[in-house]
């Protein structure tokens, strides 16, 4: 991995949201949604982003596409620094980087027909003749396995899975190379989830897409992601090959996440589980030192003071922890679930 040039690179990205008002009690508060996040996405791979709600994974996804302005750091897409570009300058780049949204209901304008929704990027970018647009529309419907008859209908006539296919068709309309999928299956039924994940994988094969796939469901990430980044409270705590991260987690938070996945086990063998106590701390007032120390089962004095940096272990696996776990032999009973 190290030799290749990444398609997308985020370097020390920081994003702060301002909440509250000067005129209300509590005043202005700053929410650190992302602090010092760095990652690389290589062409053709799928990078999984996992973490619990509120950890900043969606914010990171939106920052990567520059839907949000950054407060610090740099984002490079195909060798070009896009972190300083205005929305107008970004517009031509949009053809090459797209997003699939979590909520298939909210992300489609209820007052426009499916054909109009999918054709929107085609009509905005470049000047296509209407016959070309219509040809492309049928091609896209075919790619996402929807009947072209649906083009004249309205979004409310479709199921969640079908709507998500419409959203995907719209995202791939301009043949982008990068797609950020923001929890695209978490709003769907489990049976439909599998179909949509398969559709994502099919499209990757057919169109050579690169994905940043955001999820909170580890089984989805295991299925689709080549590499996985685990996020906690606005920072990446672990990053590496999916198999490696999920089977030999080095960060106690990853281990806890894995052990929280229910496992079908008719024998009823009780696994050693790491139960995290408490809630994640508020990002308006993150704890000093390691952000996980308040809930970490193996936290030491050093963790309360010193911020751990993301540092490489072997095999392109990196972790932000002072006391990384070592594969199956974990200290202090922090068992990762399965060896």
């Amino acid at each position: 991995m190290s030799g290749r040039v990444p398609m997308l690179e985020a370097a020390s990205v920081t994003k702060t949201f301002v909440v509250g008002s000067r005129f209300r009690s509590g005043g202005i508060q700053h929410v650190q949604a992302l602090s010092d996040v760095s990652l690389k996405v290589f062409a053709g791979e799928t990078l999984g982003l996992v973490g619990e709600s509120g950890c900043g994974k969606s914010t990171l996804g939106r920052c990567l596409l520059r839907l949000y302005d950054l407060n610090g750091g740099r984002i490079t897409f195909k060798g070009r620094d896009i972190s300083g570009l205005g929305q107008r300058e970004l517009r031509p780049l949009r053809a090459d980087m797209q997003m699939v949204f979590q909520d298939p209901y909210a992300s489609l304008n209820p007052r426009r027909r499916v054909g109009d929704l999918i054709a929107e990027p085609l009509r905005v970018h470049g000047r296509r003749r209407e016959s070309e647009v219509q040809d492309r529309l049928r091609e896209l419907m075919d790619l996402v396995n929807l009947s072209p008859e649906f083009l004249t209908r309205f979004p409310h006539e479709f199921s969640g899975g079908q709507r998500q296919r419409i959203g995907i068709a719209r995202a791939i309309a301009l043949a982008p190379s990068l797609i950020v999928a923001d929890e695209p299956v978490s709003a769907l039924d489990v049976s439909v989830q599998a179909q949509i994940v398969n559709l994502f994988m099919d499209l990757q094969d057919k169109l050579g897409l690169t994905y940043v796939f955001i999820a909170h469901d580890l089984s989805v990430v295991r299925q689709i992601a080549t590499r996985t980044a685990v996020m906690y409270l606005g920072g990446i705590v672990e990053l590496g090959e999916t198999d490696r991260v999920l089977h030999r987690p080095a960060h106690p938070y990853t281990a806890a996440l894995i052990s929280a996945v229910p496992e079908p086990d008719p024998q009823g063998n009780i696994r050693a589980r790491t139960i995290l106590r408490g809630e994640p701390p508020s990002p308006t007032n993150p704890p000093p030192g390691c952000r996980f120390h308040t809930r970490c089962p193996i936290a030491q004095e050093r963790c309360r003071v010193e911020v751990p940096l993301l540092r490489p272990l072997e095999d392109a696996h990196s972790v932000a922890c002072h006391f990384p776990l070592d594969g199956p032999n974990l200290p202090n009973g922090a068992a990762p679930g399965h060896a």
């Binding site: 780049l93 209407e130 004249t152």
Partner: protein, 360 residues
């Protein structure tokens, strides 16, 4: 370039075509296309009996008011703007004075003739000896014109202010929202009365435009403006939430320019709100107009409106109450019909009202 032709926004939507000018294959599929939200809403409205009844009532009232000159000439056979203190009418074999000498009291004054329930002086005469029915029809014209025009002004201004504030945000929003708050802080009638008194006593001169003090434009403008905050605030709120919705973010992500997002994604969703507001605002404006006219600071004599006729009837309340009752009833019926229509329109077009439609 063909872009602008492809999907013309609302007219196509209203006709149910939606896609505007699709290719041949699409035209084939269009026969199976389902109806758009506009068409579905309109169909739902047509099935609403209360609303349709209200529409029939409103159409009858409008037709009657349109026919006012014909009525004055052929039925009442009098000039409703000319006082007629010495006139007489013949009913059957009797010839009666329009202004009849008082029989009771000191016998000094005169009382206008009461309802004859015939063509001439159907509802009697007012204190100038004018045919009240004919004046009602002419007054209805003014009342309807003022309430309709002020509704249009109010909705256009509110849509403009609300959309600009909500969509642009930032300091533009802050300034506009505070301005609306200032306007909101005034009691409606106090504001309308103060404006009326100033404008009606002086008329209005803006550069080359000179609006005389008896022009209908003055009450139209005043009533149109005072209600702007009541409509603009909800529209601003809706635009704010739409501007943050996923589908607008999706459009930004697709590289759609802001102007196109505004016209394709935001305004069509706001239009529903505006349409729902229209009949309700018109009812409110009609009441406001009547109130101002009753206070002599709306429509100026010799023109009439339902409000001024009520005022004419005020002095005759004990002797000829019909002069005040008739225009009062006209206002009540019209306002009720507008409100029923408004309820129907809301049920039919407002997606949030869907839950309540089931029982009907």
């Amino acid at each position: 370039m063909s872009d602008s032709v492809i999907d013309t926004p609302t007219p196509a939507d209203l006709s149910g075509g939606g896609m505007g000018e699709p290719g041949e294959a699409m035209a084939a599929a269009r026969t199976r296309a389902t109806e758009g939200p506009w068409r579905a809403g309109l169909r739902k409205l047509m099935r609403d009996r209360t609303a349709m009844g209200a529409v029939v009532v409103l159409i009858l009232i409008i037709l009657a008011c349109v026919a006012a000159p014909w009525y004055a000439q052929h039925v009442s056979q009098s000039d409703p703007f000319q006082s007629n203190l010495d006139g007489q009418i013949t009913i059957g074999k009797n010839t009666l004075d329009i202004m009849q000498a008082d029989t009771g009291g000191l016998g000094l004054g005169v009382t206008p003739i009461g309802p004859t329930w015939r063509g001439q002086y159907f509802l009697g005469a007012d204190d100038q000896g004018r045919d009240v029915m004919a004046r009602m029809l002419y007054g209805g014209r003014n009342s309807l014109i003022i309430s309709f025009a002020s509704t249009v002004i109010c909705l256009v201004l509110a849509a403009l202010v609300g959309t600009v504030a909500g969509f642009l945000g930032g300091w533009v929003d802050t300034i506009l929202a505070r301005l609306l708050d200032v306007l909101w802080a005034f009691p409606i009638y106090l504001l309308a009365i103060s404006l009326s008194i100033v404008l009606i006593s002086k008329g209005l001169q803006i550069g080359p435009i000179n609006i005389p003090s008896n022009s209908l434009l003055i009450p139209i403008a005043i009533i149109g403006v005072v209600y702007v905050p009541y409509v603009a605030r909800p529209i601003r709120g809706q635009v704010l939430s739409l501007a943050r919705s996923d589908f607008v973010l999706a459009a930004r992500c697709l590289g759609v320019p802001s102007s196109r997002i505004l016209f394709r994604d935001i305004l069509p969703n706001v239009t529903t709100t505006i349409i729902v507001f229209a009949p309700l605002m018109m009812a409110l404006n009609m009441l406001t107009e009547s109130a101002l006219s009753f206070l002599s600071i709306g429509v100026q004599p010799p023109s009439a409106s339902w409000g001024t006729i009520i005022q004419d009837g005020e002095d005759l309340l004990y002797t000829q109450p019909m002069v005040a009752i008739a225009p009062g009833l006209a206002i009540i019926v019209t306002v009720l019909a507008l409100n029923f229509l408004g309820d129907g329109v809301r049920d039919a077009f407002d997606p949030r009202a869907k839950l309540r439609v089931g029982k009907g």
